[in-house]
């Protein structure tokens, strides 16, 4: 079953990349669709990352007070806005998490 879902997912993903190169569909996407698709990365990635930061993996509850990951995420966000650099963001976030874990 897992293989079937992997392969179907792969075919769908390939289709999203190939569709406009195929020559089988209209040359231009409608304006509203282009506008909507532009929000996909922000909405999708935010939806994945926010629970990964706020929800405690052990209890499945939203934890704010004493949540070390929030501190790390805030530092990483500031670094991301200042540097626009992926590696600086990841390393500052991880370093903050380790530092806070070590302190507490």
């Amino acid at each position: 079953m897992i293989w079937l879902v992997m392969i179907l997912g792969g075919i769908f993903t390939f289709a999203t990349r190939f569709v406009m190169l195929s020559g089988w569909v209209a040359r231009r996407l409608p304006r509203w669709l282009i506008d909507a698709l532009a929000f996909v990365p922000i909405a999708v990635l935010t939806a994945i990352l926010v629970p990964a930061v706020l929800i405690d993996p052990a209890t499945q509850q939203i934890i704010v007070i004493g949540n070390k990951r929030i501190v790390a995420a805030v530092v990483a966000t500031i670094i991301a806005l200042l540097t626009r650099n992926v590696i600086a963001t990841i390393s500052s976030g991880l370093a903050t998490l380790w530092f806070v874990q070590w302190c507490m």
Partner: protein
């Protein structure tokens, strides 16, 4: 007299693509490593984790796949979530179309498969900035192959070496950090901020929904909210400019 040096040759375009793509691997390789580790931790086999990187070949969607599958989510919801995460590629495909449509089908299939966020980012820049060349698609081949090799190799290393890294290093936290690195600088307009905040709120509020469908709900909600905000702002601008046009 025709200038024989007017166009870069295929190999030169290819290596230019490779060179432009290489710096981005600083962000790609840690992500691939962590995905390799995460795949095994989620209960996928080594083979499944490694092949996911070539079958889906999209980091965020692979993470979603592994996490949802581990949680026992129904296959249809896993597939739907992967689909929503990967919808953005339609935009890349649309913006690349004018440069690639004339190519033979086998080229379009190959370049379509290789069309990821990072390869798109560097190759569209080359296509737009010129100079036009009949061999410019080799640039996308170069950037795409570079990313492909880095992604497969880092997944493989993550799968092989992952079990030796202690859990206390919290390396899986590199995944949300990677997403922060992408999202934070891309929030430029008010509509982006609305999309971001609505997706964040829904991703928490909808946690109790069955089958982890909060991913789809929060993503679609964020997209709709951002689109509506932009649409309303446009309508308002239009109204204002119509009004101003009427003024003396």
């Amino acid at each position: 007299m025709p200038d024989i040096h007017a166009h870069r040759q295929p190999a030169a375009e290819f290596w230019l693509g490779v060179r432009h793509e290489l710096p981005l691997q600083l962000g790609v390789i840690p992500f691939g490593l962590v995905f390799g580790i995460l795949g095994l931790a989620s209960g996928l086999t080594s083979l499944q984790t490694i092949l996911l990187s070539s079958i889906l070949f999209g980091g965020a969607s692979q993470v979603v796949f592994a996490q949802l599958w581990a949680a026992g989510v129904p296959p249809l919801v896993v597939g739907g979530s992967v689909g929503v995460v990967n919808l953005r590629h339609v935009l890349y495909s649309a913006s690349m179309a004018q440069y690639l449509r004339h190519l033979p089908l086998r080229w379009r299939i190959l370049l379509g498969y290789l069309l990821t966020d990072e390869a798109y980012a560097v190759s569209i820049k080359r296509f737009r900035d010129g100079p036009d060349s009949p061999y410019q698609h080799y640039h996308l081949l170069g950037s795409g192959v570079t990313l492909w090799v880095a992604w497969q190799a880092s997944t493989l290393i993550g799968v092989i070496g992952g079990t030796t890294i202690p859990v206390s290093w919290s390396l899986s936290f590199a995944i949300p950090l990677t997403f922060i690195a992408v999202v934070a600088p891309s929030v430029r307009r008010r509509a982006d901020l609305v999309a971001c905040l609505v997706a964040a709120a829904l991703s928490l509020i909808c946690q109790p929904l069955p089958w982890k469908s909060w991913i789809i709900v929060a993503a679609c909600g964020g997209i709709t909210a951002g689109w509506l905000t932009q649409y309303l702002a446009k309508t308002k601008d239009k109204f204002n400019s119509d009004e101003n046009a009427g003024a003396p």
